[in-house]
Symmetry: D2
Subunit: 315 residues, 4 copies
């Protein structure tokens, strides 16, 4: 990849995530003004890939990214990375907390620090910036009094840390994904994740039926989200993260089954699960019993047996 | 087929069934002394096929045939036929009912006429013959006083009908099947039956899991029987009749899944369902909802889509 | 119980089973001429209970008993016992095998010794008696040359054992049950069996749905049989043995669910599982996962919680 | 109810929703500074009930409200209302769009109008207010140049509508709920909704198992959301809306089953479904087949039958 887009300017949490991905090593990193802009640039071919946040351990899913992933034309995820989210309050050198009238941050940054700011800076207005790093830049330019951003952004913009660890919930992490146009998926590693979105027909049993298609083939879910479909009231896209890779026979058969049975299904990529990222949450929906016969060898043996039945081999 | 074995002598219900099958038209029909002998002759290559009863609407399954079908080497069913079972009491000309001390019939014939014989011929002993037609032959030879057999056997052996319709349950039918060594199955007709036998591992949920493999693919059951496994106490062979043909993608995928997940699975043939035979008993276990996407076109479309995902086509 | 009926005369396998049941200790044991006669005598009040065979490890279910149990008025099982079935060939003192022209036995006895008799006594006719003990009595009276019966019957009727262990399958056992009119079931022991029969509506998913009602409540199946329904072609009674007792909350709720959802359901009793009898065959259909919350305490806690919700308790 | 809290000041969308609920007719409506403040005031007993938004047709769930509902002590929903969300851009009389440097709104208001504001007011900063009505008040006080709020707030604060229908997605609706401390639920109406939250044990099949408990009892889902659990990484609260009422036997039994099987289950109320609110989205997970026997009469009949079995009634 020659060019990879991300939510700029430099020093955002997204850039931190992107720098941890091997794809960034030899690529030009292109700051863009928003997550929708990142996805649009990938779709338009202006960049080869884009890095976007997909879920946060405190805030949950990132709705515009989920909605953007299922738009057209298709995109797929090829990599994930998890970044610990630590917020600092920054200002120009010498700023006293009592003098702060405006605090800028990205909408998610505001959501995660609102309690601290209300308690410590009751007189301040919270202003929405396009990114936490841009908020820091606004402070550096004198447009805002303070910002809630990453330590890296503070350093990059030459600002003073007025207060550390101001997030309302300590220990938050955000999972970021690298998306590209469709192409051959990364090779299976044995510890892979497959991301999907699908809609159900408005018919009894549809979702249960679709989850059963995964469960009978021993596929574990790690996440399920529902998002309203803007043009179909009372209807939802279900976003699923599953264990496994599209190249696995079990996953392939399950995807084919979902394709037959669901109204719309969108394959959003198979890629290595990162060590830091959520392990499979088996409880979400998974094989009724630890399935035997779910591995590739069992699939091959069964295919051979079936071929024999069909051509009448005297086995 | 040049030679087809059946339970002889001529004029048994089995021969009646066989004569209704198109395969009998140009074949030599070979009477044999029992259903196990018929299966053995097919396995030994002494005949090309054999006709055996598989279930009766009153007595249920025919245990030795079910057990024989799952023995080795494999056999498959290629045809079925349904015959109405009407029993007559026959004797030599001039026989008075009061003089009958012995009534011969096949074990199933005795089971189906025992009430009538006990009531009308309380003094008579019931003697087990190898077939209903052999019972008639025994009467003709003077070895027995009377027989419970088919009208055809009465006629063939020159006997007098002493009482008509002596079955305890009127309207009984028996389903017969034609079995051969494994070979390419009969072409699908769109109204086919597939017969299977499988064992479960002694693990929670096994049978439910196996039935779910059929249900999720829209495959209907028409019969389920359990038979003890002689060498595995407390374990069972489950005999299933399903709607569909091994050549159907849905059935093929289901069979492959059963092969992966069950302990032992035996494919016992795909063949046209006869008009007279039992229609699918949907209640036995079947799709949770009338599935869309269960037809061959949906399977092909899903396969194409999956292939595209795997090679990275930009669809 | 004052009077208990069984398939007579004395010395049948059924009497052996009955003698192993504590209920027989103080009761008059009444020999009757057939299993249907035993069930009829219980229904008519001529005896207080009846002992009948329900399944054999070689032959499978005993069809007339299964069919008889679901007839009207209702009967319930209160006890089970398992008896090893060992057949001997008996004759009057001095009988040579070469001289045997007739061998009597019960139909099941014939079915289980047919191979041996065909091989060793090819010249003999097999005659159906109402019981193995009656067959021995016929030999004692000189009406038959030989009988296939139990060692006990041989002894009782003063006959000589001409050949031992003549069953085609060694090690067979038969399970017998003691049935009574409905009444309070035997107290739970913690190792109980509940026997049911039910019919499904001829609708997709019915059987799978009914088995799911058991599985979700952690109830294990030990046996499933299908029997044609004489007056409803293509329809079946399903006979189920389950782990647990009607007094258990889980079983109670499951039975109530089956009552709501199935076409017809017949409770055939809760009673202690005997040591010799089949252990639960988990594979037949059972909880998807080892359920927590399936014990009585969890049911009570859940009921209390629900009552609180309904009356608005501020818990 | 004497006092009902809502997100103030007056003229918020929340107040619009509250005014449509009959409970507001005779109550004092108490404006509070945020949705968490509303829930806290109900818990503290400072108000008798509180009105909060729960989901928006464009933005999806309202995370802090979902998280707040499952906090302690318990709260329950007793009413819902749906309000069409129409945003207008307002300013003081005579304001020209070109002069607008600051646009205030609630975070959700900003999220729903960001596209329009970026396109039409590229020079403006978006400032987060505690409510859309407070944003209008800030404009009226001269603290902000413009606000994105409801027509009602524009009118109430004497502001001029500078642009109408500025939401990025037309036709959005928000569903609001009225919450109280636990108490007897509103009487069933036959068209009720029950709201739940539950966590699964991190075990294969847990979620599928829990959804099956609803499905087997004919209970339809209308919404499923997952929310991270702050103190249990990789674990989720699942928020479910179901058809039916806690007083219904089917729902009661299902709730009791969830209580037994899930790790934590929170009953969040049974209340009438409003005409405007989402109809059951059957596809989300629902009975495999249109269940018979799911109505109260069938439950009563089954209970009676079970009681008879347990006490041995000769029915």
């Amino acid at each position: 990849m020659e060019r990879i887009g991300f939510l700029g300017p430099h020093a955002t949490f997204t850039e931190q995530a992107l720098l941890s991905m091997p794809e960034s090593a030899s690529a030009e990193l292109v700051p863009l003004p928003g997550n929708p802009a990142v996805l649009a640039a990938v779709r338009a071919g202006e960049v080869d890939a884009g890095c976007v946040p997909i879920e946060n351990s405190v805030e949950g899913a990132v709705p515009p990214v989920l909605d953007g992933l299922v738009a057209d034309p298709p995109l797929v995820i090829v990599r994930e990375a998890v970044v610990a989210v630590r917020f600092v309050l920054v200002g120009r050198a010498g700023t006293a907390q009592a003098d702060i009238r405006t605090v800028a941050s990205h909408g998610h940054g505001i959501a995660q620090t609102r309690g601290w700011i209300s308690a410590h800076l009751p007189q301040a207005e919270m202003v929405v910036s396009t990114s936490t790093s841009e908020a820091a830049a606004q402070v550096a330019r004198g447009e805002m009094d303070a910002a809630a951003c990453s330590p890296l952004a503070a350093e990059q913009h030459g600002l003073e840390v007025l207060a550390d660890d101001i997030a309302d919930n300590a220990g938050a992490v955000t999972r970021f994904v690298l998306v590209t146009p469709p192409g051959p998926p990364p090779a299976p590693t044995g510890r892979d994740r497959t991301t999907l979105a699908l809609t159900t027909e408005n018919r009894p049993g549809s979702l249960l039926g679709l989850l059963t298609e995964l469960a009978v083939r021993g596929i574990d879910l790690t996440r399920i989200e529902s998002r309203p479909i803007k043009d179909r009231p009372s209807d939802y896209w279900f976003h699923l993260d599953c264990s496994g890779h599209v190249a696995d026979p079990a996953m392939g058969e399950a995807l084919a089954a979902l394709h037959r049975r669901s109204d719309r299904v969108r394959f959003l990529g198979s890629f290595p699960r990162t060590a830091g990222a959520a392990e499979p949450v088996s409880g979400v929906g998974a094989p009724a019993v630890p399935l035997h016969g779910a591995d590739a060898a069992a699939y091959r043996a069964a295919e051979d047996w079936l071929a024999g039945l069909r051509n009448g081999a005297r086995t």
